[in-house]
């Protein structure tokens, strides 16, 4: 599992963020999105989201002082009940894919294998790794 990114195709419409925040919070709220599109005109944007397959050593897992982060079948998950919101994982992530909101760390969990963002991306800037391969 995982996401394959092609920033050259990203139009910065943020439908991925809209879909993610709706899936995770039931409302459109950009802070609730686990994926973030950061503009950098005239260059292509930066897409901040978990890049498990590209990530060397998954430092977020070791960074967590309360062992709230674990890996299962190629997906890094955060146990929000155990999370103390210390921000260590946020600081450790080389892709800036983790944010702290209301005292809890948030990151992409691939929606259990059927990511809401992928379905909304009309240009193919975000694809499912399995489909892309």
């Amino acid at each position: 599992m995982g996401l394959v990114l092609d920033v050259a195709k990203c139009t910065e419409c943020k439908r991925c963020m809209i879909a993610c925040s709706l899936a995770k919070s039931g409302a459109v709220r950009m802070g609730a999105s686990r994926i973030d599109i950061r503009s950098s005109w005239p260059k292509a944007p930066e897409i901040r989201v978990c890049r498990f397959e590209d990530c060397d050593g998954h430092p977020c897992i070791a960074s967590c002082p309360v062992k709230a982060i674990s890996e299962l079948d190629g997906v890094v998950l955060i146990d929000s009940g155990a999370c103390i919101g210390c921000g260590a994982c946020e600081a450790s992530c080389p892709y800036q894919a983790i944010t702290i909101e209301n005292g809890t760390a948030l990151k992409c969990d691939l929606c259990g294998g059927d990511p809401a963002c992928v379905k909304e991306c009309v240009t193919g800037a975000i694809r499912n790794r399995e489909v892309a391969d």
Partner: protein, 606 residues
């Protein structure tokens, strides 16, 4: 709060440096949002006779019931104010990301009142409003003002700004918002008159809907329609997606309706080197979209300036390819790109500024206008760039041109007024009224001056209507004006309506807000708003004369495909009579009490 509407706006008195939250009253809620809120509020609170650049004017910045939701192609926000360009009530729109950000602040709109003593920045977030000095960026470009806010107050701020043109009360100055502009009508000069250099807006809140399951279903179905339209290479929306809005230039050219050399010809030999496909092949580097839009008609391009510097900018859009391209006999893409970039950085409407320059060129060629040191003439790139600078800085002849094409022609006199291609001092858009009679009537009768947003362009270009016929055009124009006003209460993108059935709008409205209005009721609301605008304009002093086309429209078009196309003045006047009659207005264009009573706005009758 009902679903996606907060029923709350914020009033900002920039003179007193005060802001107050204001609950939207019930009678205003029936206007749904967007243009409806703006027009109703301005009509209720601003005397039509005021000087638009006085502190008595207001800027009403609104969003709609679908802004900030997952509904695609509803990113725009709307400014309503009294225009310093036209002297009319103005509604002007910008896409991008500003609209949703206003919603994320928990607001349905922002009202700017009064005028500050010193140049100011206004910062708005979920906590409230604060004012900061703007001394560091007075005189700076829109891009510099935008960067200043992001660098000093945070990159998550969405920005509005004016450039040097807005600071100098240039009548066609625009308000810019990052990739987009409230282009038409001079809202930038109004913001400048209030001494607001820039505005930062940052919202962190949520937008919900009244019936999330139903809303999700409607949005998913609409996305299916748009996914198909996006890749339909024969449909306009598909063409805009693939090539930007300039993708249809050859189609317009083929009909001899591409205004060229100040509307002298209907086709331009240099069109192939400035149109959408040319830019897509050679200059565009990125496709960019508004919030939530799958069509991404926006573009970023790079180019080499005359001095060899590598520059980049947004656009140019189709209308600019006309106004700074074909209409000036400019077939050089780099010159067009540089002119487009200048209008953006100085903060001015590329349409009306180009129309004004075209008029100046024609006057120079006729020996009626002479500017020492500047060789005014069609095809002269340096004169185009020089005049944009002079207009925006109000230098030399630019001071006269900065008041708009009609005002400049009145000042010059010497029979020049009929060559200024404008209505109500707002420049024609990129469609030729002599070829497209309905579009001509739409330009003439538009409440905000020559306007293509409410013209039957698609039907006339695609052939559903005979473009040269006068028959039945009055009814079609009325229907278009009412319909577009209806969707602008939701601030739907004009391109959304090209491919989406109208019946979706009441459904989206109900699922988002729990409020109900049938499509017919929405169109009647559009008519109600149109009449309120008209009454505002009449009370401001406009007459039937302001609903007429310039004299050049009654002379034949020259050139290949459009040879001898002409607007017959008597037939135009008959069309205007028919238009007034069908609207329930008298021969002077004054709405009758009976129709106003039927629309529920009898108290505004004259």
């Amino acid at each position: 709060m009902t679903g996606s509407m907060f029923d709350r706006m914020i009033r900002i008195d920039v003179g007193k440096r005060e802001s107050t939250l204001w609950t939207v009253p019930d009678d205003l809620r029936s206007y749904l949002g967007g243009i409806g809120y703006g027009v109703k509020l301005l009509c209720a609170e601003v005397d039509p006779r005021i000087d638009p650049l006085s502190p008595d004017n207001k800027i009403i910045l609104t969003v709609g019931p679908l802004t900030g939701t997952s509904a695609p192609m509803h990113a725009q926000s709307c400014i309503v104010t009294k225009s310093p360009l036209t002297g009319t009530i103005l509604n002007s729109y910008a896409g991008g990301f500003l609209g949703p950000e206003i919603k994320f602040c928990g607001l349905d709109g922002i009202i700017f009142e009064g005028a500050a003593a010193e140049w100011s920045l206004v910062l708005i977030d979920n906590e409230g409003v604060r004012f900061e000095p703007a001394a560091d960026i007075v005189g700076k470009t829109t891009g510099e003002a935008e960067a200043y806010i992001k660098d000093n107050y945070g990159h998550d701020y969405r920005t509005l700004s004016i450039g040097p043109a807005g600071e100098r009360a240039v009548a066609m100055a625009s308000v810019f918002s990052e990739t987009r502009a409230f282009g038409r009508g001079g809202a930038g000069a109004v913001l400048g008159s209030k001494r607001i250099k820039a505005i930062g807006i940052r919202g962190t809140g949520a937008v919900t809907t009244a019936d999330p399951a139903r809303f999700r279903e409607l949005t998913a179905r609409n996305m299916d329609v748009l996914r198909e339209a996006r890749v339909d290479e024969y449909g306009l929306v598909g063409i805009f997606s693939k090539f930007g809005t300039g993708g249809g230039m050859s189609l317009v050219q083929g009909h001899g309706a591409l205004p060229t050399k100040n509307h002298t010809y209907g086709s331009f030999d240099g069109a192939e080197t400035i149109d959408g496909p040319f830019f897509e092949e050679n200059l565009y580097t990125r496709r960019i979209a508004c919030f939530g839009c799958p069509i991404h008609c926006g573009r970023i391009h790079t180019f080499s300036a005359a001095d060899g510097n590598e520059l980049w900018s947004r656009g140019p859009e189709y209308e600019t390819m006309f106004s700074l391209g074909s209409n000036l006999l400019n077939g050089d893409a780099a010159t067009l790109a540089e002119a487009n970039r200048l209008t953006e950085q100085y903060g001015v409407d590329s349409l009306t500024v180009g129309v004004t320059i075209a008029w100046a060129f024609e006057m120079a060629e006729a020996g009626k206008l002479n500017v020492p040191g500047l060789d005014l003439g069609f095809g002269n790139a340096q004169a185009v760039l020089g005049l944009i600078h002079m207009i925006c800085m109000r230098e030399g002849i630019g001071d006269m041109l900065a008041n708009g094409p009609r005002q400049a022609a009145l000042e010059l006199g010497n029979g020049s007024i009929g060559r200024a291609m404008q209505v109500k001092n707002s420049g024609f858009a990129a469609w030729m009224p002599r070829r497209m009679k309905g579009t001509g009537l739409a330009y003439a009768t538009s409440n905000r001056g020559a306007c293509h947003k409410r013209a039957p362009i698609g039907a006339e270009i695609a052939g559903a209507l005979d473009m040269d016929s006068y028959e039945g055009k009055a009814a079609v124009v009325i229907e278009t004006q009412n319909t577009v006003n209806a969707i602008f209460t939701l601030i739907s993108c004009r391109f959304h309506e090209f491919v989406t059935d109208h019946e979706i709008y009441p459904k989206l409205l109900a699922a988002a807000t729990g409020r109900s209005a049938s499509w017919d009721e929405m169109v009647t609301l559009g008519e109600r708003i149109w009449n309120l605008e008209k009454l505002f304009n009449l009370k401001a002093g406009l007459t039937r004369d302001d609903d007429r086309l310039p004299g050049k429209c009654y002379e034949p078009v020259l050139g290949k495909t459009s040879q001898s196309a002409v607007m017959d003045e008597a037939k135009f006047e008959a069309m205007l009579d028919e238009y007034y009659r069908l609207r329930g207005w008298n021969a002077a264009g004054i709405p009758g009490k009976r129709r106003l009573d039927e629309l529920g706005i009898g108290e505004y009758a004259m």
